[in-house]
């Protein structure tokens, strides 16, 4: 999976599928991040505000995409920019299919631009955005 500078080419498409998101991960993420909005851990709270049930923190899907981009970057590069829109909910037991497409490789700036997304089902996007890797 690790690509480094030499292994990343324009139009290359990469994919990663996460294990299903379960309540334990949401509780761990709440603790590790300090985001205690209870729509992410308590069904009653989620339903009270009109949600179908517990939904994952949007920042988990962004975090997973950031981790994916950093993994692709290898250890000589780092993710210098990460930008996403949260376009859909991630519910309990759903997996994220993460995709990254290399859209630009700038030899002079030593930067690689990726288009990134996370889907819970084909065409059903939770998160969409861009990442830049700086070497």
């Amino acid at each position: 999976m690790i690509k480094e500078w030499s292994g990343l080419e324009v139009d290359q498409e990469l994919k990663l599928v996460t294990p299903p998101i379960e309540k334990l991960q949401l509780v761990k993420y709440a603790g590790a991040s300090g985001d205690f909005n209870m729509i992410h851990t308590d069904e009653e709270t989620a339903k009270k505000v009109g949600l179908p049930g517990i939904i994952a923190h949007g920042m988990i899907s962004m975090g997973v995409l950031g981790d994916f981009a950093q993994k692709l970057a290898g250890h000589q590069g780092f993710v210098s920019r990460l930008q996403v829109k949260f376009t859909g909910m991630v519910q309990l037991h759903e997996s994220l299919t993460c995709r990254a497409k290399v859209v630009k490789k700038d030899e002079e700036a030593r930067q690689v631009d990726l288009q990134i997304s996370a889907e819970v089902a084909p065409g059903k996007y939770a998160t969409k955005g861009e990442a830049t890797i700086q070497y």
Binding site: S33, G34, G58, G63, G66, S80, Q83, V84, Q134
Partner: protein
């Protein structure tokens, strides 16, 4: 129903100082399901040229800085968008001074009525005043 108070645009939070700890990086990376050794194994991170463990790209979301001008019920808010821009990677041992600014407020009509958008910007600097990262957060109140 909320009434938009645009006079709060430009308001600034207090500046808070955060020490980036190895345990916090490991717990955060673990909660994301990551297995990248640069987040877990300090010797490995050092071999790659980093001063210590590297923070995952979304780690600044753990820096809980007050959100100036946003006084709405948390459970009715959704996170619409997020961006992080780094001058350099954050590593364990860093101390960052972070400040939030309310950059904009506007309304949009959604399926379930009017939604209020809050655009919040964060600056994180090191103790010498060098910019380390910026972030931009869109919070939607529905």
């Amino acid at each position: 129903m909320t009434v938009i108070d645009r006079t709060v645009i430009g308001s600034k939070s207090e500046t808070l100082e955060f020490e980036v700890e190895k345990g916090a990086i490991r717990a955060f990376a673990h909660a994301l399901g990551s297995d990248n050794p640069i987040y877990f194994d300090e010797d490995y991170a050092k071999q790659q040229g980093y001063a210590s463990l590297v923070a995952p790209p979304t780690f600044p979301s753990t820096f809980r800085v007050p959100k100036p001008g946003i006084n709405v019920e948390l459970s009715r808010t959704l996170h619409g968008a997020q961006e992080f821009i780094y001058e350099r990677p954050i590593v364990a041992g860093d101390t960052l001074r972070c400040t939030n600014y309310l950059a904009d407020i506007f309304e949009k009509e959604g399926k379930s009525g009017t939604m209020t958008f809050f655009i919040l910007e964060t600056r994180g600097e090191d103790l010498s005043g060098n910019l380390v990262y910026r972030s931009k957060t869109t919070i939607i109140y529905r």
